[in-house]
Amino acid sequence: MGSRASTLLREEEIEEIKKETGFSHSQITRLYSRFTSLDKGENGTLSREDFQRIPELAINPLGDRIINAFFPEGEDQVNFRGFMRTLAHFRPIEDNEKNKDPIASEPLNSRSNKLLFAFRLYDLDRDDKISRDELLQVLRMMVGVNISDEQLGSIADRTIQEADQNGDNSISFNEFIKVLEKVDVEQKMSIRFLH
């Protein structure tokens, strides 16, 4: 007759996560519930296999890249803090969100951080540049076998040509921001979390 969630979330932890990510108390407990239900090994961390078990994610063409974004450099497990930190990028930006601490760093769900998240989906080797190869890789993941190599190559070339401003044949983060300046990033990269 055992009880669930043997490692319950402590109140101090919830407060810390609240400050860091901006989620509300109830949202954090709901997401913790979700975290534990995905954690089949019941060891408090998620592995890549735990994510791949979600069918809707497994059929997403960019599924593997998205899973990668949750794991810090070179690690194979993500704990609840890391999980929440990544999800925080998708919190909607509230208009009246006052920054209580004037010297605090930018919130995780700012426009700039959302764009950085998208940028990192392209930039696999994390060298802060999207090279032609990296762009081709992502394109190939999204179109599958439906478009030929030459056509894909010319699409990549055109995209880099339009975005590149300093002539190094790759796209830096600032150039990326410029390309997407008219896109409603706040809405497109936000998920409506219920209270």
Partner: protein
Amino acid sequence: MYISHLWERQCLCCCVNSVSLSIPLPHSLSVSGIIAKELSSLEQEIQELRASGTTLSSEPEFEMADIMYFCRRGVESIVDDEVTKRFSAQELESWNLLTRSNFNARHISLRLSVLWGLGLFIRYSFLLPLRVTLAASGIGLLVVLTTIVGFIPSGWTYLSEKIHLMSYRICVRSLTAIITYHNSENKPKNGGICVANHTTPIDVIILANDGCYSMVGQIHGGLIGVVQRAMVKSSPHIWFERSEVKDRHLVAERLSNHVADKTKHPILIFPEGTCINNTSVMMFKKGSFEIGCTVYPVAIKYDPRFGDAFWNSSKFGMVNYLLRMMSSWAIVCSVWYLPPMSREEGEDAVQFANRVKAAIATQGGLVDLLWDGGLKRGKVKNTFKEEQQKLYSKSSINATGWPLK
């Protein structure tokens, strides 16, 4: 016995309702989901992304912002997806005084703890031993009597029906299953197949309580095997050896032969192939719909307030599961017999299966999903990903007539 059960049910209902009023339900705890998902399609979303982009051309071209669609969809499915939550027990809005249903470990007041302790005492020291005794006698009687009847050459159908019904009734009492049967005029008849949504092995007992069916399944060893072999002595069930299960033609042949014989009882089949948690109906395997006889759909819905009937086979073994069932308050369920359906002209087995599934889902108030219940244990097929890629390429990238630079 019937009246005492009605009384028991009223008592339990009152208890649960009064208890749920006293638990302060946290206003923020919504069971309907963690997020609100956008219901727009791929084409729509990519168009919206493009509309705010910098391209001047009217033809669809790749934009760097396109990944945002896949990215958001991906993260949405990480937070809340339709499939993985069907393989674990349903969460309740208000607590029903069973520790096993207490998710999120919400705050429990002293009064509640006292009630829970009392409930624990009643359930384990009074209800459980009573039920175990009943169950043991029910199964024992079934085995003994069916074996005896097997020795009688004639008049066996009538006797065996009575025996089966009696044993199942005892088993149902042993679980304190309070079942309401609706639309009994649609009860399955000989020469047909009865299909139902699958939540637990107890589904069989619940249906067999009200009529005689021929079961289909794999022959097991141990106690279950003994029961199976005894049952088949007095009435024609279809048990397969493990090796024969893979041979679809053999299975189809035996089913067809059984159905063609009008003296034999209707076959009971669960086309989902695995236990789902009673909030949804997942893909029906087309095998039983290819045979071409009348299909009698049945919808079974359990009331989760009195006890969660779902068998999570990866978490609990059979014995553990039965003990949990017998130490819950009760198993309360509704069974709806739906009007018989047959395959129509120009409809293939898959479409027929989906039609039956939709009817069952609507009646039982369950979510109708296209996902395969086999995803509980296996990986999803790559074809679905390829479909997404194709859709994206076609609608969002015009790969012909590319302007040359």
